[in-house]
């Protein structure tokens, strides 16, 4: 089984104050640490687990981005992916999910694959659309929010997570695209041995003109959606910040909760 996993190198905003830049349309990413998108970590793990289970096949990690994003690809290789592809061109800047899916489609359409994985969404922009649109470009069935995968020859059974703890089981024909939900597995740690092995693995870099795409088909001109303005969400409640535990205890006593 050949599996392609689309991954993204994203800023880690946990614990950070987010600042919006002068344009009002982007966040300041300068000081933020970057890492693999949380959902993608589960997606790459699931692909590697399937390969290990079947004892055959390949796992290819692909990302769109500049040289810095190779850190995320190297992480995937160190975990056990066989090959990595980085697609980059300055013309990709400001691409929406539709344009991103188009770029990914052009990069993978001639590769052999039985399954394509993406994370359910990214923890930066979070539209959760690339997987669904990519499956349309590839003309293959897809399922999102996947929590379990069982493979039987040309068919797979997947569990999708619905609301309130309910799941549904679907049967899909291969090839298929799945967007992976967190908790589907326990992502492994990267081992020293893995990092050493990863250095010898192939990391291919592809640019726009190798993709049969024109600059007009990507970036803002190739997108449907354009960000007008970013803002920090307004609180629905006005929080009162207390100094210490004693103050909380007093609030609880005043409300009759102690």
């Amino acid at each position: 089984m050949d599996i392609i996993v689309c991954v993204k190198h994203v800023p880690d905003v946990a614990g950070a104050e987010i600042l919006i830049d002068e344009s009002g349309k982007k966040i300041k990413k300068g000081d933020l640490p970057f890492e693999i998108n949380e959902w993608d970590e589960y997606a790459i793990e699931e692909a590697i687990l399937i390969k290990e289970r079947l004892g055959t096949g390949s796992v290819t990690a692909i990302t769109i981005g500049d040289e810095e994003t190779e850190a995320t690809l190297r992480r995937c290789l160190a975990k056990g992916a066989d090959k990595a592809i980085r697609v980059h061109d300055d013309a990709f800047e400001d691409s929406d999910a539709y344009a991103i899916a188009k770029i990914l489609y052009n990069a993978i359409k001639d590769l052999p694959f039985d399954l394509v994985f993406t994370g359910l969404q990214t923890n930066d922009e979070g539209y959760g659309q690339v997987g669904g649109i990519l499956s349309e470009f590839l003309e293959i069935p897809h399922a999102s929010l996947v929590k379990k995968i069982e493979i039987t020859d040309k068919l797979i059974e997947v569990n999708r997570e619905l609301e309130g703890g309910l799941e549904e089981v679907l049967e899909l024909q291969l090839p298929a695209l799945l967007t992976i939900q967190t908790g589907i597995n326990e992502p492994r740690y990267v081992s020293i041995m893995g990092i050493r092995k990863a250095k010898k693995k192939e990391l291919q870099v592809i640019s726009l003109n190798e993709l049969e795409l024109t600059p007009e088909e990507v970036g803002i001109s190739g997108s449907w959606l354009q960000i007008e303005e970013l803002s920090i969400p307004k609180p629905t409640k006005q929080v009162v910040i207390l100094d210490d535990a004693t103050k909380i205890a007093e609030v609880l006593r005043a409300r009759g909760l102690i």
Binding site: I20, I27, R160, E163, E168, E171, W224, Q226
Partner: protein
């Protein structure tokens, strides 16, 4: 101008998101509720008054939600009727159907305003609990039955069954006080510290998604859209960042107190009181303080 709103239903019930979207749309425009399914007659009456028109497509092949069949029927209806806008819930169904325009960015720390290029028709997904549903003033709606455009069985994707959630040993929705933990707890060996606080408060322990993903607590204790919706007298959020999926499950609690090291964590946007500090410092102090108070 007319707006299409896709009616979301499952296991014989219309989902709340449907009424939230329809209530919002009525303020803006003429609205058509698009109802797809097999035994759909039961849903027509509850929808009356929420939309100017209820458009019904009845077909055995629409018995269960399937993004492939739904997509085929919806695109047919949109092409025939050219609504300027179609709204779909940003739910497990909507995410599968309409790789949509959700606005959740950077873990709930940023909101985005976006524009779309000129087009004949637009599609937007609406996050659950973004709008309030209101009761309709009258019960008037025109009902139109449309013949299903689905001719043969679609292959490639087939519904097999639902898997009901496992019965949990606790019912967090029945508890007056919830002490809820999130990623900030760091390791499962830190849970006993939280249990001590829960004991003195007479509280039940609940959690956010990452704790269940890691297998530290069972799914029955998860608060949020993919877990339970809770409304306790006190919700104590410890090390929970408060992404919208979590907030949707606890925002109607009577009193919310959050403890988080990150002053910018979105949980503070839905809290009454907060402490910006290390929970491992605050929690033992709080346990001790409550014990002292109880002693007096």
């Amino acid at each position: 101008m007319s707006i299409f709103v896709l009616v979301e239903h499952r296991q014989g019930e219309i989902r709340d998101i449907t009424f939230e979207m329809l209530s919002k749309c009525k303020e803006i425009s003429k609205t058509t509720a698009v109802l797809l399914g097999n035994d759909v007659e039961q849903f027509v009456d509850p929808l009356k008054g929420y939309a100017d028109t209820i458009m019904v497509v009845k077909d055995e092949k629409l018995e269960y939600f399937n993004s492939r069949t739904y997509q085929m029927v919806l695109s047919h209806l949109i092409n025939e009727n050219k609504p300027l806008l179609t709204l779909i819930g940003h739910t497990s169904y909507g995410i599968d159907l309409a790789p949509g325009l959700a606005r959740q960015m950077y873990g709930g720390k940023v909101d985005a305003k976006a524009t779309l290029k000129k087009s004949d028709s637009y599609l937007i997904t609406i996050r659950p609990a973004s709008f309030e549903s209101t009761e309709p003033e009258s019960k008037d709606s025109e009902v139109i039955n449309i013949e299903s455009p689905l001719k043969e069985e679609l292959i490639g994707k087939r519904f097999i069954k639902y898997v009901e959630p496992e019965i949990s040993d606790v019912d967090i929705t029945a508890s007056d006080i919830l002490v809820s933990i999130g990623r900030g707890i760091k390791e499962d060996k830190n849970i006993p510290v939280i249990e001590e606080l829960a004991t003195v408060l007479g509280a039940t322990i609940s959690c956010s998604r990452p704790i269940v993903d890691k297998g530290w607590l069972d799914k029955g204790r998860q608060v949020g859209t993919s877990g339970k919706t809770v409304k306790p007298k006190l919700y104590l959020a410890l090390g929970i960042s408060g992404a919208f999926q979590h907030a949707a499950g606890m925002k109607d609690s009577e009193l919310v107190i959050a403890i988080n090291k990150d002053a910018n964590a979105p949980i503070f946007n839905v809290s009454d009181f907060g402490i910006v500090d290390d929970l491992f410092k605050v929690v033992p102090e709080l346990t001790q303080k409550i014990n002292e108070m109880k002693g007096t």
